[in-house]
């Protein structure tokens, strides 16, 4: 009897939760929060004037309900993280001052999330240039929108999609003056200009993640979160273009042709900063060259000694 009751309540609870979720995101107009926060404008009853008023919504507080429906946190409702007092409007001004739950409040120290290594990521973030500049205010959500976040790198086998998705996180601030200024206090440098040393820039941007050059890579994390200052970024072509000689050859040829097509003239050929590493690319030849060098040197020394003492 007892177990039957539990079963009935469980089924009821399950359907109720399904219904509330459906209301939450798929039917935003019915949702208590999203009926305002998914639109450009909102209407409310001004009790002082005693009439309805329509106002513009702060663009930073408008949520993309479609993205939310696909996000990893879709099963949560707004008041699971935000104060339930937000249910009334006008919102109580003091609510802004209350600290929000952080990601680690749920994800930290939890076995079920162990594979994502949230705690280690937090340690890395604390070493990063972002944390040094903005302190604890630079939380996970600055890059990973808690409302719409989807795991791409783990699920996608399309490299271009992963690169695009990851770089958008960086660009959301680094390509946006207002957001950038919030953290750094000065205007954002033009990315195309600061990367003008990089050959074939557009191709690199499409195929390489920002973090590839701008983090200290550690093997134990899928994506390193210790974002380094620009002085520590990878800037030597050979750091990437060494493993495969073919890649290096293409790099050499590219740089050479590029420089000549840009400026023209024979002098460019001479002042070409690209170069090609020769025999030392092959460990065998390197060893051989050392052996020959020392053999010749010892031959000469022995001969010289004979000339000095034997004559």
């Amino acid at each position: 009897m007892n177990s039957r009751l539990i079963l009935i309540f469980s089924i009821l609870f399950f359907f109720c939760s399904l219904i509330t979720n459906a209301q939450s995101y798929e039917n935003a107009r019915q949702h208590q929060c999203l009926k305002c926060h998914s639109n450009q404008t909102y209407t409310f009853l001004n009790t002082v004037k005693g009439k309805e008023e329509k106002r513009l919504m702060n663009p930073y507080f408008i949520l993309d309900t479609v993205a939310m429906t696909n996000g990893v946190h879709k099963q949560f409702d707004c008041t699971d993280c935000h104060s339930s007092e937000y249910a009334t409007y006008p919102h109580n001004g003091n609510l802004k001052l209350e600290p929000l739950s952080t990601c680690l409040d749920c994800h930290g120290g939890d076995e079920s999330f162990a594979k994502y290594k949230f705690d280690q990521i937090q340690e890395e973030v604390n070493k990063s240039v972002h944390y040094k500049v903005y302190g604890e205010n630079f939380g996970c959500s600055k890059c990973h929108s808690q409302h719409t976040y989807v795991t791409t790198a783990r699920n996608s086998d399309n490299v271009l999609e992963i690169v695009d998705n990851d770089n958008k996180m960086c660009l959301s601030c680094h390509n946006d003056m207002k957001k950038y200024k919030l953290v750094s206090g000065h205007e954002n440098p033009k990315l195309v200009e600061v990367h003008d040393w990089l050959p074939n820039q557009e191709l690199h941007f499409r195929h390489v993640r920002c973090v590839e050059c701008h983090t200290e890579v550690i093997d134990s994390l899928m994506v390193s979160h210790n974002i380094l200052g620009k002085d520590h970024a990878v800037k030597k072509c050979v750091e990437c273009h060494t493993a495969n000689s073919r890649l290096k050859a293409s790099l050499y040829k590219y740089e050479n042709l590029q420089k000549r097509s840009e400026k023209g003239g024979i002098h460019i050929v001479l002042s070409n900063s690209s170069y090609m590493i020769g025999t030392h690319q092959s460990p065998l030849l390197k060893l051989l060259s050392f052996l020959i060098f020392f053999a010749v040197l010892s031959g000469i020394i022995i001969h010289l000694l004979f000339r000095i003492f034997k004559k």
Binding site: V238, S245, R246, K253, N256, S273, Y275, M276, G278, L285
Partner: protein, 205 residues
């Protein structure tokens, strides 16, 4: 010393070429090694090494053409001709002299004269360097300056990679030659006599 016979072996054009070539080759070796080992020393910065190597390479190309033409239009070229007779025995005889004979009071097997400027072993090395090795580094060097000239792929390797390997391997051979060349020059009337000769033009027999 004053009583010894001397021959005017090295005409002015040859001495000028030798001077430019010596300086150029030394610069190429130093900058070559510095690039090879990716050294970014405060003395020669990496980009300076690259530029210096490229410019000196062109200077050496011009000086090589000067040497090549000079050896055609003057009689100097005949000293580099190798005859079939004694092709193997002569250099071996000379090697034995260097390794054994000269320490046991033997006379040089091929004494130098107006007709013979180089001993056989010396001639072989000079021909090897000036008519095989230097042309190879010049041609591969030009190819590396204009990489579109190089075939894309050969036997599954990048053509550019093979060219670079050949360039630096032959460059290494020339460096080894230079060490031996300088050492052998000290075997003369006196240790510094041959060095004086290449400046004055007169060789003491």
């Amino acid at each position: 010393m004053g009583t010894t016979e001397k021959i005017y072996f090295y005409p002015v054009w040859l001495r000028i070429w030798h001077g430019i070539n010596a300086l150029g080759i030394i610069i190429l070796i130093i900058t070559g090694i510095s690039m090879q080992s990716s050294l970014d020393s405060p003395l020669i910065g990496f980009s300076l090494a690259v530029n210096l190597h490229n410019i000196t390479g062109i200077v050496i190309l011009l000086s090589y053409l000067f040497f090549f033409i000079g050896n055609i239009v003057t009689k100097n070229g005949k000293y580099y001709l190798i005859k079939a007779k004694g092709f193997f025995q002569n250099p071996i005889k000379q090697s034995v002299y260097y390794a054994w004979g000269m320490f046991h009071g033997s006379k040089p097997p091929f004494p130098l004269s107006q007709k013979r400027k180089f001993n056989p072993l010396q001639k072989y090395f000079y021909v090897l360097v000036m008519y095989i090795a230097v042309p190879i580094v010049i041609i591969t060097g030009i190819a590396l300056l204009f990489p579109e000239l190089i075939i894309e792929e050969a036997y599954g390797f990048s053509g550019l990679f093979l060219t670079a390997i050949l360039h630096s391997a032959v460059g290494f051979f020339i460096s080894i030659f230079l060490i031996i060349h300088i050492y052998m020059s000290s075997i003369g009337k006196s240790p510094f006599d041959n060095f004086k000769s290449i400046i004055s033009g007169w060789h003491h027999l």
